[in-house]
Symmetry: C2
C-alpha cells in the first residue's frame, strides 16, 4: 500500500497491520486536522469492522513515534495532523476549525535549554485561538 509507511513501521519495530496502514493513509489525505472520531468514520469505509479503540490507540502510537502529530484543542476532543513537522496552528474557538498557520513573519520556534528546565523536550506546540472568518460573519448577522 504505502511502502514508505511500512518501512517506517518496520524500522520502529511496529507490526504492519491493515488498520495502521489505513489510519495513516486517511490522515495523510485529510488535511483538516480531523478528530479521532472523524478518522474513525473515514477508516470505517475501508475497514467496516475496525474498532474505535483501535483508532485511538493507533493514532496515539503513530504520534508517539513521530509519524504524525497530535494537535490540542481547548476543552474538546483531540485532533491529529498528518504532518509531523513542527508548525503553528490556529483554532476557531466558536466552531473548532483548525488550520495550519504558516505566516512567515512569525518568530521561528525556539526551544528552552535543557539546563533551565531539567525537562528533556521532544515537542513544541504553538496554538493561536480566535474566531475564523465564517464565524465572524455569522456573529455580525
Amino acid at each position: 500500500m504505502n511502502q514508505n509507511f511500512d518501512e517506517k513501521c518496520k524500522s520502529r519495530g511496529l507490526s504492519i497491520t491493515v488498520q495502521r496502514q489505513q489510519v495513516y493513509e486517511t490522515l495523510m489525505e485529510d488535511k483538516s486536522h480531523p478528530t479521532v472520531d472523524a478518522v474513525y468514520m473515514a477508516v470505517r469505509k475501508a475497514i467496516p469492522t475496525i474498532s474505535r479503540a483501535t483508532v485511538y490507540r493507533t493514532l496515539e502510537t503513530l504520534a508517539d513515534e513521530g509519524l504524525i502529530q497530535r494537535v490540542l484543542h481547548p476543552g474538546s476532543s483531540a485532533r491529529y495532523d498528518g504532518n509531523p513537522a513542527p508548525h503553528a496552528h490556529i483554532v476557531c474557538k466558536v466552531c473548532g476549525k483548525t488550520e495550519d498557520c504558516m505566516d512567515s513573519d512569525l518568530n521561528p520556534m525556539s526551544y528552552p535549554s535543557r539546563s533551565s528546565t531539567g525537562f528533556s523536550i521532544t515537542e513544541c506546540e504553538i496554538t493561536y485561538r480566535g474566531v475564523c472568518p465564517e464565524c465572524q460573519r455569522k456573529a455580525q448577522a
Copy 2:
C-alpha cells in the same frame, strides 16, 4: 475577601459570589496549574456543598474574562493557571506535571497578521512537551 477580585467582577458585570471568590483564591494559591478536579477538591474544603459544575463554569467564566488562563493538556483534562499573562508552558508527557517556562533565551511570542489568516486572534499558547526530571530518573531505574 479579595477586594481586587470583587472589583474586577464588578467592572465586568459579574455577580460576586462566595464560589467565585473561593475558586479564584484557590487558583491564586496553587501554582501547580491544577486540573478542574483538583480545584474542585480544594474548594470543597472551604465550601463543602459546592457543585463540580460550578467549578467548571466558574473557571471557564474567569478565563473568558481574562482573569485566569486555561492551559491545554494533550488528550487529557484541562488545567488552569492563575497567571493570565501569556507565557509558555512545559508539560511532562509521563506524569502530566505542568510548569511555567520562563527561559529568557526563548523567542518572544509573535502573532500572525490578521490578513494572512482571516482569523481574529485573541490568544496564543505555547506548549513544550517532554519528560520531567523525576520521570527521567524513574525511567532509568
